[in-house]
Amino acid sequence: MKAVNSLVEDIYYDDDIVKKFILATLVFAGVALAAGVMVALQLAFWPMNLNSEWLSFGRLRPLHTNAAIFAFAGNAIFAGIYHSSQRLLKARLFSDFLSRVHFWGWQAIIVAAAITLPLGYSHGKEYAELEWPIDIAITLIWVVFAVNFFGTLAKRREKHMYVALWFYIATIITVALLHVINSAEIPVSAFKSYPVYAGIQDAMVQWWYGHNAVAFFLTTPFLGLMYYYLPKAANRPVYSYRLSIIHFWALVFIYIWAGPHHLLYTSLPEWAQTLGMVFSIMLWAPSWGGMINGLLTLRGAWHLLRTDPIIKFFATAVTFYGMATFEGPLLSIKSVSSVGHYTDWIVGHVHGGTLGWNGFMIFGMLYYLVPRLWKTELYSVKLATAHFWTGFLGTIAYYLSMVVAGITQGLMWQAMTPDGRLMYPDFIETVTRILPLYWVRAFGGILYLAGFLLMVYNLYRTIKGAPVSVPEKVRVVNTRDVTAVETGHRGLEGAVTVFSVLTFLAVLVGSVIEIYPTLALHKYLPPSAQVEPYTPLELAGRDLYIREGCYLCHSQQIRPLASEVLRYGSPSTAEESMYDHPFQWGSKRTGPDLARVGKKYPDLWHYRHMLNPRVVTPQSIMPNYIWLATNDTDFLVLRKKFSVLKNMGTPYSDDQVANADIHAEKQAKEIAKSLEAQGGPSGLERKEIVAMIAYLQALGQKAKETPK
């Protein structure tokens, strides 16, 4: 219908896609939270690992993190972005077809993840575990999303781009870049690949990715959503729009350099560590600017805090954001990091942010969106309020227990007696001390899940009771250049520009990645240098280590701290991990560091320990890895693996590559024999356990000169 003015149009927003993403959010939130509760219980009570290959902690934890980030937060982000963008831009989404491809493609990725991760198909890099076919799928779907979003931007009717849209733009561009760069890998088989980076290079890229994933997947889109939904829910304008603009630009410029704060005291060069620390501290300012802006938006509407659960969720979320963005820079200070790194304090910090900031923002958004999209009232405000309190208590319980646990454990590790020895020489002592807190954390998680289930029920009843909805027309006024809309040239230009930029970026990145391996390590260190690469059997074992997610509980990086040197040995050097594709420095010590565990214990010890840790350490919380003794090692694939690694710069000879499997089998026989000799069972030479033992015994043993 033509209105009185050619600049006035009647359009329909696509809210169907928003509803789809909302439902997907609910489903996968359940999965993510349930998985989270499961792994929390597994830590508190190891039998919850159920002796199952597919449900052990090492396999489930990546499922939890990926589900939480990509399935829960991801779907919610898409729902919010698609809903708010259409209204901010006064335009229907660019392409219904692309919207649906985006939706189904993303869910397929999630399902693929849910299947592959328990099966052990993993990169061994945190929050980037998904193997290469899924990585490609993510890239493709992300491009679909980008085209859909930028296309909508190009056909917008509202001249001014509200600040939330800028946050979305930053998210889309940066996540694309991060993902592509960090996922640079060479496939070995259908579900196995090696990253082109190794050791310290990989560490740098991984945490550049890892921290910026937090920044640009868990922060910027949520800030955008906050700047839209909080004012809408409170029906008040943002406290200072100007400040929000400054907030955006300042954040975007600073965030990108904060990555190294995950690598303090590691063998990353000092200057990179300090740089990361300085920039992380600088990040505090724009983050708190955003928090203050958000909270002060409620000025004059504080009474809503009492009556409206949506405002409760939003206000609390913003507060947790402030907390987390204060704690983050705090943890980036080297001295603080020396206590907190590898402990549960980091876990607490993460969950304060994810449960408090991300989770609560999503819940608030869902309570806001569902009634409006289904054109009905929320089934029960009381239930929503109950959800809030349950979730809040759960978050607090989680956070406090983990901070206390982390600091306790960190301090215990560092504690020295007056005569210069470790006060707690047995790692297990530090574990049992904090075990009760693991129960508290699990309880917090259960509370959070319970609150979530209240919401599911509430929203279910809401949707069920809703009338059949008919899409409503919206009258929009075109406030952009008349010529642009009428001739359509600008629109086309816009799309072309978008495509060119994306293409250019892709090409640039692609070329760099192809060139890169040739630029690799031999410029940094001469090949004749100090480290031996892994033998085929050791490599096989390493890949098992990755598959089982051992890096999630064990680190391989000894820091140059006195207590650590006493406990584990001399500090790790950059060279030692130079051929590690991927690096396995680890970020958590639920169990002790393994950097120099090689030759510390006899083979049989490792055998017994892997099959039932409690045999050697009665109070251990590590799962039983009984299937390692029954699964067969894949020897044949070792040739391919060696070939790929050689192409990436590992100094293997052609003979080593061609006969990788033979050498592996030979070494396996030797180890099997030694196991038998030490009193263990016989006939293990083709079993995975032997490969694992080979790897573990090699840790710290690869230097040509033994480090002092």
Partner: protein, 49 residues
Amino acid sequence: MNILYLMIPLSLLLGFGFIAGFIWSVRSGQLDDTETPAYRILDEGEEQP
């Protein structure tokens, strides 16, 4: 640390991309009015439950 040969150009590229974005927004008048947009998003009238 020759990973820097990758990371620095990348970060600079990203940085310049954002500067370009900023220049575009200034030139196209996005930053002329930093008060009204905050009000415009409210009370659209079609969001009543």
